[in-house]
Symmetry: C2
Subunit: 370 residues, 2 copies
DNA sequence: GTGAAAGCGCTAACAG
DNA sequence: CTGTTAGCGCTTTCAC
């Protein structure tokens, strides 16, 4: 592998001079020498060994990403991180902790030992040891899409409440006033915030809050279907549903169909979370998209900015706004229909099919070249 | 940042000895010295600077992944790669080329300059310069999930044909003999192979090949819906459909519904590609899963094995077998129903809804903590 | 303007 | 068994 000495030899100069042109320090260099060196570099197709550079300069030009769960959200965010890193001449090291704080620790140590210049972390949940380690680190780091208490460093998060408000307001603007919502049990802040957004939107528009049309189900197959069917059997049936995640949304669509009703004809649906498939559903889903890619870009650029400003500023918190993707599952409330009798809910006999599939085989989405 | 000298000083020994314990070379070391050193290391919480180690040892313990398109398939595969790297003490650098061969080149150069020990590459299409660069590289590399001609290095691929055969055979075993298939235009080998598998399965079971029930549609919204409806209007309507990708499968489901028929009651459907949502569809989709995670693991372990065997073996090609996920969209052909008149296809008036949504906003799937 | 020399933190002969 | 020494490939004073 060709080294700086080879270049120096070929060009007939010292390696200091070669180093100067590599690093763009030719303010006081003769045109001639610069030309010779550049030629030699080209001839040898020389590329500096960045390990040696790093050792000397004490910076690696590599950013580390330590994420608790490399799920579909982070997979997309990762692309944003990577793109921004590349744009700025940084490499990206990736590690996943698979929900295990021990592995968070191990990964952070690994990143430190590899001397990454900065760290983007997104642990799955707060953990004292991880916290301590991070604080004892002499490497700049930021949090991304995480929800810890008392974070003392920069972070980028998405404004979940705003996304929920936007979803519900969209329904309100379409003329709906009796809007149900459906959630998984409120075990984490994201879920709570989606409910909070729902409430705020209603309040903002002077709509009453009716606890009977807030359905909270256990996470699991088909629980959403049951909830929807209950909703559809209510005497004063809601005309719209705000479904707070993709899993539930698919249940909602299924439940409505089982009841012999139509989305959006009989009931409008707005979901939360977007995916490649959302536009292909029947009907194409109106849903809140969390801009994962953009979040990744922001996280990387925030960190890089931090790496370049030596003087510490006060921790910054960047909020990414979700975006409502308006497709076809929510429409203007049909006034005439409202006056009429509501369509009758008819339940077929195969009502609540039980699922019993064996999904313990790790594969994953696959949209490749096909 | 604490160095090996600090440890040596604290333990009152030379740094060579410290280096020995770091590297586990204490065959000829007194227990006492070893103890002292290990204590000092613990006291200082010393971790070797792997940049310095790399410079000296000429190996970085980092693997580079250069992928053309970090889509949902690779996102999952990435997790497999990362996991296997971690298990073996390797770090992982990731870069994406976003369909641009120029960026493949740049990324490979970057990886080389960072001195990764080995490379997993998956360029989007064959490209002479990339090929040359790879061959001129003095870094071991393997191909993963790529389909180049004349590859002279190890590779891991999925057996697409076998997956398609399995899907169609499943239908045959359920008693179906008139099985249609639906594909996007045969622009790449993956698509061709899925068709090939379909043909082979029919042939193997002595079933006739009827070109009229092989529907090839342009990629795009709703093209699959039209194709299915044509299929359903045929006098000798097929009793099952092998749909060759997720996009088409959603169209198929929609088309059948629009025709007033039921999956799987009136027609069985087997798809290709699995996703988080496939089990949640209505009905839960029987489909071929490409084990992306497993592929990532295999790729990494193949490469690592290669890194550790210095003596070159002849290039190896590992095939990953797709797995049929049996859920509820394909069932036993109902003999009695077959004897009856086929259910009538009724088309509602909102037949082929035109899509006109604005999907140019990059977001992505999001299944996070909600 | 340019080169010589020191050294980043570590490993690996080679002595002792 | 343990320490001394010579680099790995590069950057960066500091002389010339």
């Amino acid at each position: 592998m060709t080294t700086i000495d080879d270049v120096a030899k070929l060009a007939g100069v010292s390696k200091s001079s070669v180093s100067r042109v590599i690093n763009g320090n030719f303010q006081y260099m003769s045109e001639e020498m610069r030309g010779k060196i550049e030629q030699a570099i080209k001839d040898l197709d020389y590329r500096p060994n960045s390990v040696a550079q790093s050792l000397k300069k004490k910076e690696t030009k590599v950013i580390g990403l330590v994420v608790g769960d490399l799920n579909s959200f982070w997979s997309v965010a990762l692309r944003g991180v990577q793109e921004e890193c590349m744009r700025n001449g940084y490499g990206l090291m990736v590690s996943e902790s698979a929900w295990d704080p021990e592995r968070d620790l191990a990964n952070i140590h690994m990143m430190k030992s590899k001397r990454v210049d900065g760290l983007i972390v997104s642990p799955i949940r707060q953990h004292k040891q991880v916290d301590d380690l991070l604080n004892s680190l002499d490497i700049p780091y930021i949090f991304a899409d995480s929800t810890w208490e008392e974070i003392v460093t920069d972070q980028v998060v998405t404004n979940t409440i705003a996304g929920a408000v936007e979803a519900v307001e969209h329904l309100i603007q379409l003329g709906h006033s009796r809007i149900a919502t459906i959630l998984f049990t409120l075990e984490n802040s994201v879920r709570k915030e989606r409910l909070e957004g729902y409430k705020r939107a209603l309040q903002k528009h002077g709509l009453p809050l009716d606890e009977t049309i807030i359905k909270i189900c256990k996470a699991g197959k088909g629980t959403g279907v049951e909830a929807v069917i209950e909703l559809l059997h209510m005497p004063d049936r809601p005309t719209a549903i705000f479904s707070t995640n993709m899993h539930l949304t698919l249940d909602v669509l299924k439940g409505v169909r089982m009841a012999g009703l139509d989305v959006p004809g009989d009931i409008s649906v707005v979901g939360y979370d977007d995916s490649e498939w959302a536009p292909l559903l029947d009907p194409p889903l109106t849903t809140v998209a969390v801009p994962a890619f953009q979040m990744g870009v922001k996280a990387a650029s925030l960190l890089i900015q931090k790496l370049q400003n030596k003087k510490p500023r006060k921790p910054k918190k960047i909020e990414i706004m979700p975006k409502l993707m308006i497709r076809h599952s929510a429409t203007q409330l049909n006034q005439s229909r409202k006056a009429d009798e509501l369509p009758v809910v008819k339940l077929s006999d195969h009502t609540l099919t039980k699922e019993k599939s064996n999904e313990n085989h790790q594969t994953g989405a696959n949209s490749r070249k096909a």
